[in-house]
Amino acid sequence: MSPTNEHNSLHIENLTISRDKTPLLSLNETIRGGEVLTIMGPSGSGKSTLLNWLTGQLPKGFNADGKVYLNGINISHTPSYQRHIGLLYQDALLFPHLSVAENIAFAMPKGDKKARATKISFALAEVGLAGLDHRHPDSLSGGQQARVALLRVLLSQPKAILLDEAFSKLDSQLRQETRELVFEQIKQHKLPAIMVTHDESDAIAANGKVINLKINQQIN
């Protein structure tokens, strides 16, 4: 592989995930920086399990065989918190005991307090949330919370992003806006991304490869 290829890429090599010895899914993919791979399929087909494996949090009862390379480095056995793979769920999951700014600061690398605060205010303004730094997350609207969650992931300096039904709780207008914002950021920062979704319009908006998983591909 050439160094340009290695930079900003997520490579899944010969992955097989099985549950109680029943194969659930197999995958062999490379996602380059700025691209979004869409995974679709009915519940139970292993979409979320795939994301759990990628973040290093495969639940009990599942087995996985295969490797994952992030920017050319094998991270298959790296603990979750050192993988630098950001995660967005359908719920914003902002920490209820922290303010908006504190939620983002939680994700940022350590550094000068003032510089961090400035950076947070600036980032909030960039996504149309100027001045909301010290608000409590619960007082934000659903769309605002989703944008704070996105900022939190981005400012944690991830090397890849996973979207787990990230837009499914937003109504259609908001959904489109938030989606555009997220994809724009992914492209801008050349991050490889995987999106799990039920929604065709998500897949079309992602404008990338789509994989359809079927339920329990039981071919022994």
Partner: protein, 591 residues
Amino acid sequence: MSHSFIAQPQEPHKTKASVRFFSALVKFSPKLLMAILILPVLGGLLGVILPAFGWLPALDKTQFNLQGFEQLIQTPGIIKMIALSFFSSIISGLLAFIITLLLLATYFDSPWLARIQKLLGPILVIPHAAAAIAIAFLIAPSGMIARLLSPWLTGWQSPVDWLLPHDPFGISIIMGLTLKELPFLLLMTLSAIAQPALNSKLRAQYRLALSLGYYPMTAFFKAVLPNIYPLMRLPILAILAYASASVEMPLILGPNTPPTLAVAIINWFHDVDLSLRIKASAGALIQLLITVSVLITWWLLEKIALAITCKTLSNGKRNYGDAFIAKGMQIFTVFLISTIALALLGMIFWSFAGYWQFPQAMPEQWVLLHWQSALQQVQTPIINSLSIALVSTSVAVILTLLTLEYEKQNGSQLSNCSSLIIYLPMMIPSIAFLFGLVWLQETLHANATFINVSLAHLLFVLPYVFLSLAVSYRRLDPRYAQVAASLGASPLKIFIQVSLPQLLIPILMASALGLAVSFSQYLPTLLVGGGRLNTVTTEAVSLANGASRRTSAVYALIQMLLPAIAFSMIWLVSTWQNKQRAQKMKTEVSL
């Protein structure tokens, strides 16, 4: 959006020493927790079994024999002692169970259920000794009930010569135990059925039965009870086990000639004649058998009740005198709550009473003297109570949190076997292993009285702290931790900055419960401390029989105040937190 707020990706950093230490600590905690619970109990049991069969090297007895048991059988009144222990526990357990069911059935669909829960809640944390003292004041011939009814109803001008408390049939014990067990059973049941999924299912089934024409109480017994009884079984077995071997209640309320077996064992153990320790150990083993047979009896009763009622469940009968029973229960509830209020009031009266002649319902003279003199003497016991409780509770809370964190990191709950071990000190009568534990600790480190007593308290504090924290910890949305990890937070950072702050109130609640459990411990303090470490509870018990009723009232009230202070502090913190949050939301809305 042209500006990029992402810096260059960092190189993966090495795992920090603190993070490595934390993960080692988390891995080690469940084992330590298990060891803390198993070793003293098993070691203690061994330390009772050996002397029971005649092996007591301290007295130069190293031959196994059955002398202890022979002495025990020859003890006058032994059968009465055993019967008293057995029947007082099974009857009080049965009464508490029936009243709990009737309260639930009467108020299942009424706002009064929550109110009764709030009223009875505080009794849960009142130490057994204090409750016993309060009940003694209530039912004694010169107690509050007699005063209220005299002379207009009874015609008594002076206290009658009735043996109350200390009645030979243990009715006072049964009353005390029932009043103390009832809140426990009711609150445990209510918290078990408060789980959202189960609660909505039960409510739906209840409404369905009503819509089919079942009267409310019958609907509860036929549609709800069969589903919640399995959740009540463990708390019931716990109260039965406790009651069969409890010491404070029979000591304060029970007969003296003969007392219950548990009280007799304590007397033998403290006798100057050291050879009685063999008899005491044999008695402790018999005590264990009594507890086991109480539990088996309950199991049999359960089978019989099931066999009788299983056909009636579907017999279609929709009314069993519901309206009459419901009326009766409403009157009983008023009676129950006024009894408790009267007991408390009586104790407060006594603690301030100067001259107070029978049958006056209120003291004629109010003085602060008893409080003043008690407060001078009670300082050391209070400091002892507080420091033992703080040490044992902090250890219990930290160990529990780390064990639950291990569960979370490992993605699976503790095995059934481990959960059983956590309940072990609740189920095995403490008298059966505490002697052994004393002997063990004296052999290992005799002079560390404070540490020994704190360790013994830890045994009893840990199960309650674990039970109360586990529910909230396991209910935490795991995705918060996953998000935090994906943001690069180490397990240590997630634990301290994500999990703990979200659990602030449950942690405080568990700590208050732990403190309350430790404050109330009598036997472990007395036996392990060897009388060298006095707490408010040991003082209150030793004053209850003998000293002036006024002093005794003050000590019992101090005993109640300690846990009350702990719980009101939690209440203050949580209201303060809620207010802060509400304030934040308010200013935000006006922005």
